[in-house]
């Protein structure tokens, strides 16, 4: 026998490592605490968010309601040092009043400025400034738009009390960018970005460094807060409300103290007095907020398609020259120079090229060019105002409608809250909607020719392109030069259909009553049905080919036999993509822009492919969406909470999808029809085949959701005859999560592991809130009866779905008496 110590030396590491084995991936992440509001029902969200804030020494400011909208956070701790990345909606935070600690909380606003309020007054702090916040006192930090911040919390116990000798802090201090504070801010920002992936050792080193830098930073006070006079708590609360009102109405060029005073029910004189009490004035504050808004928008990639004057106008500047002067005076650069400067800064940190959608680097290029020519009318008033009498629904009647596919009835490659509805329908109405596949141009002879609707949509000659915008990109194609919209989004969507009375918070139920493929109208192929599948550059396989030339795109044309006993598809021929010159003369070396007609003479058709293979049909719609609320033009490729490019073949005849309504009228659009697809959609597309579907659309008002399976819905929920199918995504609301960068970031950071987590959290929520189970019951049931599958790995925002069989909750028939 060996003696004790020797054995112990061998056994201990093994045992510890063994624990790692059982803890699985979390062995690495014991200190990592992710948070998403998606785990919680709406009622539980304020409390859950309060806990998140509490973990970094903050709490919601009493005067404001606790945030209950979409929120995500990543926190990682090391022996008392906590670094957090917070992303949520507008709100104000205050100290948790931890009297035991004199170490300040360090807060770095990373996208937009904040309004700092102390007992003495308030001050506007731009993004990139570090705020040193004492853990007691009556200060608050208000995020007027979205909250995006990195927070560092160090307590005296951190690192086992290793003395950081931070000087006590009684007042809030603001450290302007430059020198040392840039280093600290940069480190916090970078560390926060990589919280999930840093190995323990590296994270520990970072946490210690941040801990050690803090005392120096605390002494490094550049500009003491220019406190603006005293006020009681009531005054502060009133002032806060005034500020919020101003924020909402910044676009009003004629916003006067009188208007704001009336809106808030106080006298103009009192209003002026409140602002004077802060050492400022209404006029000064308003101008500062207008300028801050424009500077945020000018550095926002998602606003790149708006001209400078548009942005200025939206912030209430109705005189360009005046705006330019004021901007230069405030920021030291003209708006154009500022935009270019920001663009270059972004370019430096751009993500790798080769991803779909908005590339940050290319956005930067775009914004360094003139943006005036890209200006387009984007803002359309409330859709309901614009609907002609012939389109308006007749109240109280159940009608059947028909929306054909033609150039006037489609939007191509994007969703938009600003689109004018094609038609308005009542809840309960049925509607037939024709949809076209954007891949019809892969074989125009079979899928377009002779079909008036398809010809109208695809019509594109040297002089005329019937549907110009294809994608959410700039109309002048100044990023890649592919064409209007840049193909940032590819699907031909028919609609939008407005649903009468639909409002934010309602749920739209869309039943698919029938779906039939659209036959060829070319006399040579009369009555036959064709589809196309492209193994495209965005496919999952694309970076690891085995054979021959490395990267290639292959198009396979299929014929659909839907009247057979076993409806199926068979390959007709295939070809490798060859550079195609579109009618405007642009060459498309890859499949980078939708609807480019492929000229048969330019490709080599290979017949006899997939011989003997029959693909069982699964006719469905890849895209069913309501308009998202976050942005004007949203790329149709990444699916999210609003539905969109779900690519789940279970969304076929007899199924129902429930979507949360975000904008008035809901604005339903459908497209991307598929004859068959596998779970995963591996090569990038399904068998893309034009289809016509009949829907029944039912609106469930917010007040009537209680007790329904679709109450508390913040994601697309599919119901089939036998199952509930919940859709999880890498980033369930990427537009809210990443803000301005969302439409690029979502492509860069998708993973099945994230999507699996989202699907798990949603199914847990469904079982707890809809089925009334406890968390323990929900997890047991998920483990033994819920099937998780891969929806798709090609749409930017990857998907995992969770399938719950309805049988689980069905009771056997009662025994006959």
């Amino acid at each position: 026998m060996t003696d004790g110590p020797v054995v112990r030396q061998g056994a201990v590491p093994f045992g510890m490592a063994r624990r790692l084995l059982r803890f699985g991936y979390d062995g690495r992440c014991m200190s990592l605490r992710p948070f998403t509001s998606e785990s919680y029902s709406e009622d539980d969200r304020p409390e859950a968010w309060r806990d998140v804030l509490g973990s970094v020494g903050l709490q919601p400011t009493v005067a404001t309601a606790t945030h209950c909208g979409h929120a995500t956070a990543v926190r990682r701790s090391f022996e008392g040092v906590v670094l957090a990345r917070l992303s949520a909606g507008a709100q104000a935070v205050s100290p948790l009043s931890d009297l035991a600690s004199d170490h300040p909380v360090v807060l770095l606003p990373i996208e937009d400025g904040v309004v700092l309020k102390t007992a003495a007054g308030h001050q506007i702090i731009a993004a990139g400034h570090l705020l040193l916040l004492p853990r007691k006192g009556s200060w608050s930090v208000a995020f007027q738009r979205d909250m995006r911040a990195v927070v560092l919390s160090v307590t005296p116990d951190s690192l086992h009390g290793r003395r950081a000798s931070a000087p006590g802090l009684s007042d809030v201090q603001v450290v302007a960018p430059g020198g040392f504070s840039d280093v600290v801010a940069g480190m916090m920002d970078q560390a926060a970005r990589h919280l999930e992936t840093l190995p323990d050792v590296e994270w520990a080193a970072l946490a210690q460094s941040l801990h050690d830098l803090l005392p120096t930073l605390t002494r490094h006070v550049v500009e003491p807060a220019a406190d603006l006079g005293g006020g009681t708590a009531t005054k502060a609360a009133t002032l806060h409300r005034l500020c919020q009102t101003i924020e909402r109405r910044l676009d009003d060029p004629d916003l006067t103290p009188a208007k704001v005073a009336v809106a808030e029910g106080i006298s103009e004189r009192y209003l002026q007095k409140l602002f004077e009490g802060t050492g400022s004035s209404f006029t000064h504050y308003l101008r500062e907020r207008r300028l801050q808004r424009t500077s945020a928008d000018l550095s926002n990639p998602a606003e790149a398609h708006h001209s400078i004057s548009e942005i200025a106008f939206r912030a209430g500047f109705n005189d360009s020259a005046h705006f330019s002067r004021a901007f230069r005076h405030r920021f030291g650069l003209s708006p154009r120079e500022f935009r270019q400067h920001e663009a270059e800064r972004l370019a430096a940190s751009a993500t790798a090229a080769g991803q779909r959608g908005w590339p940050q680097a290319a956005l930067a290029q775009l914004r360094s060019q003139s943006t005036a020519s890209t200006a387009r009318k984007t803002a359309v008033p409330d859709p309901a105002d614009e609907i002609g009498h012939d389109l308006a629904a007749v109240p109280g009647q159940k009608n059947h409608h028909h929306l054909s596919a033609n150039a006037a009835h489609v939007h191509w490659g994007y969703f938009s809250r600003s689109l004018k509805p094609q038609i308005e329908i009542n809840s309960g109405d049925t509607i037939t909607i024709e949809t076209l596949t954007q891949h019809a141009s892969d074989d125009p002879e079979r899928m377009i020719e002779g079909d008036a609707g398809a010809e109208s949509v695809f019509h594109w000659t040297r002089d005329v392109k019937n549907v110009d915008r294809r994608g959410a990109g700039p109309m002048d194609a100044s990023i890649f030069g592919r064409g209007a919209g840049e193909g940032f989004g590819v699907h031909i969507c028919t609609g939008p259909v407005a649903v009468k009375d639909a409002q934010l918070g309602d749920v739209l139920e869309i039943r698919i009553l029938d779906i039939v493929p659209r036959a060829s109208s070319n006399p040579d192929f009369e009555g036959r049905i064709f589809g196309s599948s492209v193994a495209a550059w965005w496919g999952y396989h694309y970076k690891e080919f085995l054979a021959e030339q490395n990267a290639r795109e292959a198009v396979t044309i299929y014929e659909i036999f839907d009247h057979d006993d076993e409806p199926h598809a068979r390959a007709v021929y295939s070809y490798r993509w060859e550079p195609q010159t579109d009618p405007f003369g642009t060459v498309h070396a890859t499949y980078d822009y939708p609807g480019v007609p492929v000229r048969p003479a330019t490709v080599r058709r290979r017949h006899g492919v997939l011989e003997g293979i029959r693909i069982p049909l699964r006719p469905h719609l890849g895209v069913i969406a309501v308009a998202p609320r976050e942005a004007d033009f949203v790329d149709s490729v990444p699916p999210a909470y609003f539905g969109g490019n779900l690519d789940n073949w279970r969304l076929g005849k007899g199924s129902t999808i429930y979507l949360p309504v975000s904008v008035p009228g809901a604005l339903l659009s459908v497209g991307d029809p598929h004859a068959a697809q596998g779970d995963g959609e591996l090569g990038g597309t399904a068998i893309e085949c034009s289809m016509t579907a009949i829907f029944q659309v039912i609106l469930h008002k917010k007040g009537n959701l209680c007790g329904q399976a679709f109450a508390d819905l913040t994601y697309p929920l599919i119901e089939t005859e036998t199952d509930w199918v919940l859709m999880g995504f890498s980033h369930p609301n990427y537009l809210a999560e990443f803000g301005a960068k969302g439409q690029s970031e979502v492509y860069a950071t998708s993973s099945l592991d994230l999507a699996m987590k989202d699907a798990f959290r949603k199914m847990r929520r469904f079982l707890m809130n809809v089925k009334g189970l406890t968390e323990d019951e929900a997890i047991a049931l998920m483990s033994v009866a819920v099937d998780f599958g891969v929806t798709q790995v090609v749409d930017g925002n990857w998907g995992v779905h969770a399938i719950l069989s309805k049988r689980v909750f069905e009771q056997p028939p009662l025994p006959q008496a």
């Binding site: 093994f14 045992g15 991936y25 492919v609």
Partner: protein, 413 residues
């Protein structure tokens, strides 16, 4: 053809590992059949319902201060002092076998057909004839660090009863939160960290009337089936790998045929980890763990005969059912070879669905190109429009994604 019987006993099981070094408990010829009993390693979560008065189960689980019937549990150290016990629980599954196949050599493929699967009824008088299983939301579950209710974290055991009177289903009987348990050797187990520790029901609080009105459709299957790998003598039973093992696919039930590449002479097949039902992903860490007995048929396919068959070029486990073929992708297809000397521990630091998806894609592409003679372009087009990828499990360290292609795709004029 001969029909063999392999009951459970301390001599016919090995606990928590695959091994080419364990003496076979049965040797048979290609074409032979065997009825093999298996026990769930979670039976001690409720001793009365799953062990008491069952001679086979009692003999395997017997553990007193003086006598531990199956000493080694896991591929860890077998000489003390121990942190958790002999084998240190590096691997947890009770496996029956190994079954040696005469003439099997590395490079061959072993086909295992599951002819029938039956639950093992309780023996104690008050539960006699009923069948029970245990589901554990454990510390290795996907949910464990993402809990929303207090206390956090916690492990929860749910006992199910299997009803086979009609369409078989399982109903929850009660659940309880794991409390620290002391084993007969005096070692305290604050979490579920060592298999076969009897839960003292005086220390737990049973909650009845849980999952009311919920009926879990039964999916009787074996979570762990496979052959001994060649790389190491003792290999943890937790991560699945190229010779199979803890695949945890509920489709591996009655009527299924599994194919495994043989890595060591004799193949050394073992089976265990019986499940009454499991969802794709096995989210909480376990299925409904229930002792089962199966009828198996073994067919050895010699390396020289594989060309031109569906087994040509097979280097990983593959499933055939009535309707489909499935290949199994893992984070690391052969983690023992890829991660080096410390692989059995290292694998847990690399768990990833993304890598498993990548592996499943490659394996299915290979299957279509090798077996069905497709070009790469054809294979990718077919996978996109006709193959389904699903999450097998996210709790076995080497996470799994399966790629499935339906047989009727190939049914041709």
């Amino acid at each position: 053809m001969k029909h063999h019987l392999l009951p459970v006993s301390p001599k016919t099981v090995h606990w928590g590992y695959f091994s080419k070094k364990v003496a076979p408990s049965l040797t048979l010829k290609s074409g032979d059949r065997a009825t093999i009993e298996t026990l769930t390693h979670h039976a001690n979560d409720d001793y009365d319902r799953m062990i008491a008065d069952d001679p086979g189960a009692e003999s395997v689980f017997r553990w007193t201060r003086e006598h531990k019937a199956v000493v080694r549990r896991g591929s860890g150290p077998t000489e003390g002092p121990f942190i958790r016990g002999s084998g240190e629980g590096v691997g947890v599954h009770l496996l029956t076998g190994p079954v040696a196949i005469e003439g099997a050599e590395p490079g061959d493929v072993l086909e295992v057909r599951i002819l029938d699967v039956r639950p093992r009824p309780a023996c104690k008088a008050c539960h006699a004839g009923k069948c029970f299983g245990s589901n554990v939301a454990a510390n290795w579950g996907f949910h464990y660090h993402d809990l929303i209710e207090e206390p956090k974290p916690r492990e929860v055991i749910t006992i199910f009863e299997l009803d086979t009177s009609g369409e078989p289903f399982a109903k929850a009987v009660y659940n309880y939160v794991w409390t620290p348990q002391t084993d007969p050797d005096g070692i305290l187990h604050p979490t579920i960290d060592y298999p076969g520790v009897r839960v003292d029901h005086a220390t737990i609080r049973k909650r009845e009337n849980i999952l009311p009105n919920v009926r879990v459709p039964a999916r009787l299957h074996f979570g762990t089936m496979g052959l001994a790998p060649s790389e190491e003598d003792f290999v943890s039973s937790i991560p699945p790998s190229y010779t199979g093992g803890n695949i945890d696919d509920w489709r591996v039930g009655k009527g299924a045929k599994m194919f495994y590449p043989v890595a060591v002479p004799g193949a050394f097949f073992s089976v265990g980890d019986p499940h009454a039902a499991q969802g794709d992903s096995e989210l909480g860490g376990t299925a409904i763990e229930t002792s089962l007995t199966g009828d198996f048929e073994f067919i050895l396919h010699k390396q020289a005969d594989l060309g031109g068959t569906v087994l040509e070029g097979l280097t990983h486990p593959m499933l055939e059912t009535d309707s489909a073929w499935s290949v199994y992708g893992f984070t690391y297809p052969n983690y023992l070879a890829e991660l080096g000397a410390n692989a059995q521990l290292e694998i847990a630091n690399h768990s990833s669905l993304d890598r498993a998806m990548r592996d499943a894609f490659r394996k299915l592409r290979r299957f279509l190109m090798t077996v069905h003679r497709m070009s790469e372009d054809e294979a990718i087009s077919l996978m996109s429009v006709g193959a389904d990828f699903g999450v097998t499990q996210v709790v076995d360290a080497n996470w799994g994604v399966h790629g499935t292609i339906r047989k009727n795709v190939f049914r041709c004029d």
